[in-house]
C-alpha cells in the first residue's frame, strides 16, 4: 500500500473541477492528513482540459509525484492526459452514461468504476451535484470515512442553506453506495488513515494576502492577471475588516501609482501582478526607488516572454526584478520558498521596505500561487509577527532633520543611507518627492557632487542591510556532502522531496535554498567547499546560475525546466544525478 495517496479529478474547464477538488482536499485536511494540491489548467474559461490533483499523506508533502491512484475522469481526455501517471491497480471513476464516456476503455490492469454520476445526482436533488457523487465514490474507493467529506461540504455550502448541504451529503452517499453495491468484489486496496491533527489548507496567493494584512498593509491596488489575481481576491472583503482598502485599477500603470500615492501618505501599501504587469510598472518602479518610497511589489511569475503561457509555471522574471528599470536602483528582491514562506516573506517585505525606504520585489510564481498545502495553524503564528516602520519622525523629532531655515530633509545624507521619513500632516515636514535627482530636501538638482552623494546614499542602504539583516539560505540534506545543489523559490519543496530518491541512489547532496535574491548571501565559501555545484531553476537560461557564477567566480552546472510545468521530485532527482555525472559545461534540460 502506498504511503501516500494521489487523487485527481479532470474534465473540461467549466466542469467545476476546482471546487470539487478543493472540497476533497479540505476533507482530507480536516481528517488530519497532509495535502499538497496542484492544478493543470489551460488559459480559457470553458472547454480545454483541466485537472485538480491532490497528493495526501499522514506525513508532510511538498511536491507532486508521477503517480495517480484514483482518477475521476469526466472526459475521455482526462484518462489520456494521465496515462503516464496511472499504474496497475489505479482506479478510474467515470460516468458510463455520459455521452462522451460511453465507449471509454479502461486501460489494462486498472479498475474502472462506472458510476452514473449525473443520474444519482438527480436522485439527490440536482444534476449539478454529479461531482459530489464522484467524491462519495472516491471515499469508498479509498476507504476514507465519508463523514469528513460532510464537514467539507458543510463549509462549502452552508451559507446557501442547510437543504443544499443535506442534498450534497446525500449525493455523496449515493456515490458511495453505488460503489459498495456494484464493486464489492473489486480489490480496492487503499486505506486513508486519519489523525487528530487540525491543519489549515491554503495556497501561495492567499498566504501573501494574509501576510500583508498581518504586516499592517492597509492599501492594495492591482489589475487582474493570472496567477496574481488571487492576492487581490483574498484581500478584497478581508482587508476592510482591518481598516484597509483594495482598488481594482484601470491598468498596472495606475495600480503602482495608486499604491505609491498611498505609501507616500504613510500607508503600508502593496501591488501584485505577473510579468507583463511588471513591464508596465517598471517606469514607476524607478520613481518609487528614487523618491525612497516603501512599497511592496509582488511578481507572481508565469511563462513569458510577452503573454507567453499565462497558466504555466516559470521563473523567468528574475533578471527583470534584479535589473529592471533605467539607471541604477537599489531594491530588495525576496523569493519565498513555500506557501508558508509566502506569508513570512510578505511580512518581512513590508518591514524591509519601510526600514530601508525602498521598493521590495516579492518573487512568487504560478506553481506556488495555485498550490494548496496543509500546515499546522501555528505556522502562521500571528504573535510572532513583528512590525518595524523604520525612521519615521514626528512633530517632536522632526527638528533634528531640518535645515536652518526649517526645511525638512527627506533625503538627508546619513551614514547608513537611510533618511528620516515624515508622513503628510506632520507639522514642519512638508517636502517634495521626485524622480528627478534631488538634494537633501528633495529639490531638483544637477549639482555633480550632490548627485554622487545621493546615488551613494541610496546604494549605501544595501551595505547597511547586509550588516543588519540575516540573508542566510535555508539548508537541507547532508551538510558534509561534496555535491551542492542550489535553488530558489518554489523548487525548494520538490528538491527536499527529491532528497529521498537521491539517497536511495546513493547520491549525497547538500541543498541551499536561497530566499534573498538581492541583497543575497555570498556563497563563495560554500561553492569552494563543494566538488560539484548544480543550480536548479524553472527557466531556460539559468538566470540565477548566471548571477551565482558572477558572485563566486566559479562555473556551475545547471538543471533547467521551462516546459511550463514545475519539477516533480523523482524527475528532479534523475536530472540532478545526470548533471552530477555529466562533464563540465554540459547542461541538463528537463
Amino acid at each position: 500500500m502506498p504511503a501516500d495517496f494521489n487523487w485527481a479529478i479532470g474534465g473540461e474547464a467549466g466542469d467545476g473541477i476546482d471546487s470539487t477538488g478543493k472540497i476533497f482536499a479540505q476533507a482530507l485536511s480536516r481528517a488530519g492528513r497532509h495535502v499538497f494540491t496542484s492544478k493543470d489548467f489551460a488559459s480559457r474559461i470553458r472547454g480545454g482540459y483541466t485537472a485538480y490533483k491532490v497528493r495526501t499523506s499522514t506525513e508532510k508533502v511538498r511536491s507532486v509525484v508521477d503517480r495517480l491512484d484514483v482518477l475521476v475522469a469526466l472526459t475521455p481526455r482526462t484518462i489520456e492526459e494521465n496515462l503516464d501517471e496511472l499504474h496497475e491497480g489505479s482506479i478510474i471513476i467515470y460516468d458510463g452514461e455520459r455521452t462522451t464516456m460511453q465507449d471509454v476503455e479502461i486501460p489494462e490492469g486498472m479498475i474502472g468504476l462506472d458510476v452514473p454520476l449525473k443520474s444519482l445526482a438527480e436522485d439527490a436533488g440536482g444534476a449539478i451535484m454529479a461531482n459530489v457523487v464522484a467524491l462519495g465514490a472516491a471515499c469508498e474507493a479509498a476507504d476514507f470515512d465519508i463523514e469528513h467529506l460532510d464537514s467539507s461540504l458543510k463549509k462549502r455550502f452552508s451559507d446557501k442553506g442547510t437543504a443544499l448541504v443535506e442534498n450534497n451529503k446525500q449525493a455523496a452517499r449515493l456515490g458511495q453506495e453505488h460503489v459498495q453495491e456494484h464493486y464489492a468484489d473489486a480489490d480496492l486496496d487503499y486505506d486513508l488513515d486519519t489523525t487528530d491533527n487540525d491543519y489549515v489548507l491554503l495556497n501561495g496567493d492567499e498566504a501573501i494576502g494574509m501576510g500583508a494584512i498581518a504586516a499592517g498593509c492597509k492599501y492594495y491596488a492591482g489589475y487582474p492577471i493570472t496567477p496574481a489575481t488571487d492576492v487581490m481576491t483574498y484581500l478584497k472583503g478581508r482587508i476592510e475588516n482591518f481598516g484597509g482598502h483594495v482598488v481594482q485599477a484601470e491598468d498596472e500603470l495606475a495600480a503602482i501609482n495608486l499604491a505609491l500615492g498611498a505609501a507616500r501618505a504613510g500607508a503600508r501599501s502593496m501591488t501584485a501582478t505577473s510579468g507583463p504587469g511588471i513591464d508596465l510598472m517598471t517606469e514607476t518602479f524607478g520613481l518609487v526607488a528614487t523618491s525612497e518610497t516603501p512599497l511592496v511589489i509582488c511578481d507572481v511569475m508565469r511563462s513569458g516572454p510577452s503573454t507567453g503561457m499565462p497558466t504555466k509555471q516559470e521563473q523567468g522574471d528574475l533578471n527583470m526584478m534584479l535589473y529592471g528599470g533605467h539607471g541604477e536602483i537599489p531594491r530588495f528582491v525576496l523569493a519565498p520558498t513555500s506557501v508558508e514562506e509566502c506569508f513570512w516573506k510578505t511580512v518581512e517585505a513590508f518591514n524591509l521596505a519601510e526600514k530601508y525606504q525602498t521598493p521590495v520585489y516579492l518573487a512568487s510564481d504560478l506553481a506556488m500561487a495555485v498550490t494548496e498545502q496543509t500546515f499546522e495553524p501555528d505556522a502562521f503564528d500571528m504573535d510572532a509577527v513583528e512590525i518595524d516602520r523604520g525612521k519615521v519622525v514626528d512633530e517632536e523629532t522632526i527638528g533634528e532633520h531640518q535645515t536652518e531655515s526649517g526645511g525638512f530633509k527627506p533625503h538627508e545624507i546619513t551614514d547608513d543611507g537611510i533618511s528620516p521619513r515624515a508622513f503628510p500632516g506632520t507639522e514642519g515636514g512638508a517636502h517634495m518627492s521626485t524622480g528627478l535627482e534631488h538634494d537633501e530636501q528633495g529639490r531638483r538638482t544637477e549639482d555633480t557632487e550632490m548627485r554622487i552623494e545621493q546615488v551613494d546614499k541610496r546604494n549605501r542602504k544595501v551595505e547597511t542591510a547586509r550588516e543588519r539583516e540575516d540573508f542566510s539560505p535555508r539548508e537541507f540534506g547532508d551538510a558534509d556532502a561534496d555535491n551542492l545543489i542550489v535553488t530558489w523559490g518554489s523548487n525548494e519543496g520538490t528538491l527536499v522531496e527529491a532528497l529521498e530518491f537521491l539517497e536511495e541512489d546513493g547520491v549525497d547532496v547538500r541543498i541551499l535554498s536561497v530566499p534573498y535574491l538581492f541583497p543575497r548571501p555570498d556563497l563563495t565559501e560554500e561553492f569552494e567547499a563543494a566538488e560539484e555545484v548544480v543550480v536548479v531553476e524553472c527557466n531556460a537560461t539559468g538566470q540565477f546560475a548566471d548571477v551565482l557564477e558572477h558572485d563566486t567566480l566559479q562555473r556551475v552546472k545547471r538543471v533547467n525546466k521551462y516546459n511550463g510545468v514545475q519539477f516533480k521530485a523523482d524527475e528532479l532527482a534523475n536530472e540532478i544525478t545526470e548533471a552530477l555525472a555529466a562533464g563540465e559545461g554540459q547542461e541538463v534540460q528537463a
Binding site: 498581518a214 501609482n257 512590525i387
Partner: protein
C-alpha cells in the same frame, strides 16, 4: 496654523525656471491662493504633479508633494487621498501629460470621483520637449513633428470629462487672476473630483493660442444666466464648436466622493506597530 496661512506660505524657495510670461505663473498663483483661501496649509496639503513645464509646479510650491512620472499623476493623487482623506489633494499637469500619455487615467479618475482637484495647464503644445503638437493642438497647427499640422481633431477634454461622468467640470484662463482663483476654489470645495482645464499660454512655442486669443474669444459663463447644474445645458456648451467658455460648466451637487462610498474616513498611516492587528488569527482559522 491654518488661520494665519498666507498664500505665499505655499511658495517654495525655488525660483521658477518658466519662460518670462508663461501662463503657468498665473495658474500657480491662483492655485496657491485658492488653497490658502479654503483654509489649507502646506502641512495638510499634498500636490501631485506630472511631467512637463506644467509639472514643475510641484517644485515651486511648498507642501507635501510628489513629482511623478509622465502621465501618471492622477492615480498617485487618488492613492494619497484614499490613504489619508484628511489631506487636501491637488493634482496638476499639462495637456500632453493629462490627455495624451495619461488619457486613460483621466477617464478613470473622473469616474472614480475621488475628492481632489485636478488642474490642467492647457497650452495646446508640448512645452518642455520644445514645441511638438499636443492632443489639444489645432488640426492645422504646424510643428517640427507635424509640419502639416496634426491633421486630427483635438481632444475635447471637457466633453471627455462629461461623457465619463464628471461631477465637476470647469475651464479658466490663467491671466484672469480673480476668476481663475475663484474657479479653482470651487473645484477644491466640490465634494468629488474637481476638474479644471486652464488655458495657460505658452509664449515660446505657441503663437496661435495666445493671451490675446483667449482674452478676445473666451465667453465668461458667470456673466450669463448659465446654470451649471443642468447637464443638458452643459452638453451643449462642451460640444459647442464655435465658442470656448470660462467658468464652471457642470457641477453635480449630489456628488458623493469615492472615500465616502467606500467608507474611507481615517488615515491609513496609523498602524499598530506592536505586531499583527488584533483578530488576525481569525484569518488563519478560516482555512480550517
Amino acid at each position: 496654523m491654518s488661520s494665519q496661512v498666507k498664500f505665499t506660505d505655499f511658495k517654495s524657495d525655488k525660483q521658477p525656471t518658466w519662460c518670462p510670461g508663461c501662463g503657468d505663473f498665473g495658474t500657480m498663483n491662483g492655485m496657491m491662493k485658492a488653497l490658502a483661501e479654503t483654509g489649507n496649509d502646506p502641512d495638510n496639503t499634498f500636490v501631485v504633479a506630472g511631467i512637463g513645464c506644467s509639472g514643475k509646479i510641484g517644485t515651486y510650491m511648498h507642501s507635501y508633494a510628489i513629482h511623478g512620472v509622465h502621465g501618471r499623476a492622477l492615480p498617485v493623487g487618488a492613492g494619497v487621498k484614499m490613504a489619508n482623506p484628511d489631506l487636501e489633494v491637488m493634482v496638476a499637469g499639462g495637456d500632453g501629460d493629462g490627455y495624451s500619455i495619461g488619457a486613460g487615467h483621466f477617464v478613470h479618475a473622473v469616474r472614480r470621483n475621488v475628492d481632489m482637484s485636478y488642474v490642467v495647464m492647457d497650452n495646446r503644445i508640448y512645452g518642455l520637449t520644445k514645441g511638438q503638437a499636443s492632443p489639444t493642438s489645432r488640426e492645422d497647427f504646424e510643428t517640427a513633428t507635424t509640419p502639416d499640422g496634426p491633421q486630427q481633431p483635438p481632444v475635447n477634454p471637457l466633453a471627455l470629462a462629461l461623457a465619463s461622468g464628471a461631477t465637476f467640470i470647469a475651464q479658466s484662463f490663467s491671466s484672469d487672476a480673480l476668476r481663475h482663483q475663484e474657479i479653482v476654489r470651487k473645484a477644491i470645495e466640490h465634494d468629488g473630483f474637481g476638474f479644471v482645464n486652464v488655458f495657460s499660454p505658452c509664449v515660446t512655442f505657441n503663437d496661435v493660442d495666445t493671451y490675446d486669443y483667449f482674452r478676445d474669444s473666451l465667453v465668461d459663463l458667470q456673466e450669463t444666466d448659465y446654470d451649471p447644474h443642468d447637464r443638458e445645458a452643459a452638453k451643449e456648451k462642451v460640444l459647442d464648436a464655435d465658442k470656448e467658455y470660462m467658468g464652471v460648466l457642470y457641477q453635480d451637487e449630489e456628488s458623493v466622493p469615492y472615500e465616502e462610498t467606500h467608507g474611507l474616513d481615517s488615515s491609513m498611516a496609523d498602524i499598530d506597530d506592536s505586531g499583527a492587528p488584533e483578530g488576525a488569527m481569525d484569518l488563519v482559522r478560516e482555512f480550517y
